[in-house]
Amino acid sequence: MSLRTPLGRVLGKGSAGDGTGHWWVQRVTAVALVPLSLWFATSLLGSPLQSHEAMSQWLGRPWVAVFTILFAITLAWHSWLGVQVVVEDYVHGKGAKTTLLLLSTFLHFAAAVAAVFAVLILAVS
């Protein structure tokens, strides 16, 4: 049994029912992406991009693999939340909205898993 009143339970949670959680995670992932993307971009720009050997060796290094996985997951998360906001703001038909949100969720999870899987392969081979 909860000691909170029904009013107390819903106050500040808004129509989505999760309060500022969505907004906050968007900010947390944004803050994490600042150093992660700076690191990844500057590393890539100094690499021999055409060389499969050099690139796969670099991405397979333990810390590089860890931070690339973090980068990919954080990107996917931030992007997933962002697309959700855009779809909810501009797509009003219930069917189209649900379809697009589902599609976005599937795509983001698939791309995140693919990125993690790829880095793991490079790290262990």
């Binding site: 499969h52 050997e53 796969s56 855009v86």
Partner: protein, 132 residues
């Protein structure tokens, strides 16, 4: 139940200012970055798939049309990055005055153009780099 009241975001009721186009550009570049992220995952998979699949992916990236697209993706990422930092500063309650927001907007936009040019230049050098 038909309700004629305007629903958020009811953009039609505001007088247009150029900071609005920067805000819309933040969303557009965000969506472009989603596509860029899918491309990034695909690139990682191509790299993990071996020398042949990587060579095929890099060949696709070297066609003129895709190169142009990559410049666009670069701008989208750089702009979203810089304007995102502008948003974080706003989240602390700073820089929200009209004159400040206009100044930071111009700084972000032209700064992004410059940074994009720099990244494209360095990217071309990285693509031309011969294996050590």
């Amino acid at each position: 139940m038909k309700n004629p009241r305007p629903l958020s975001p009811h953009l039609g009721v505001y007088k247009f200012t150029y900071t609005m186009s920067l805000s819309i550009l933040h969303r557009i570049t965000g969506i472009a970055n989603t596509v860029g992220f899918l491309l990034f995952s695909w690139w990682l998979m191509a790299l993990a798939g071996g020398a042949e699949s990587y060579a095929r992916a890099m060949q696709l990236f070297s066609t003129p049309f895709v190169k142009l697209l990559l410049v666009g993706f670069t701008f989208a990422f750089v702009y979203h990055f810089c304007n995102g930092i502008r948003h974080m500063i706003w989240d602390t309650g700073r820089g929200l005055e009209r004159a400040q927001a206009r100044r930071s907007g111009a700084l972000v936009f032209f700064g992004s153009l410059l940074l994009t040019a720099l990244v494209v230049w360095l990217g071309c050098a990285a693509l031309a780099q011969v294996t050590p």
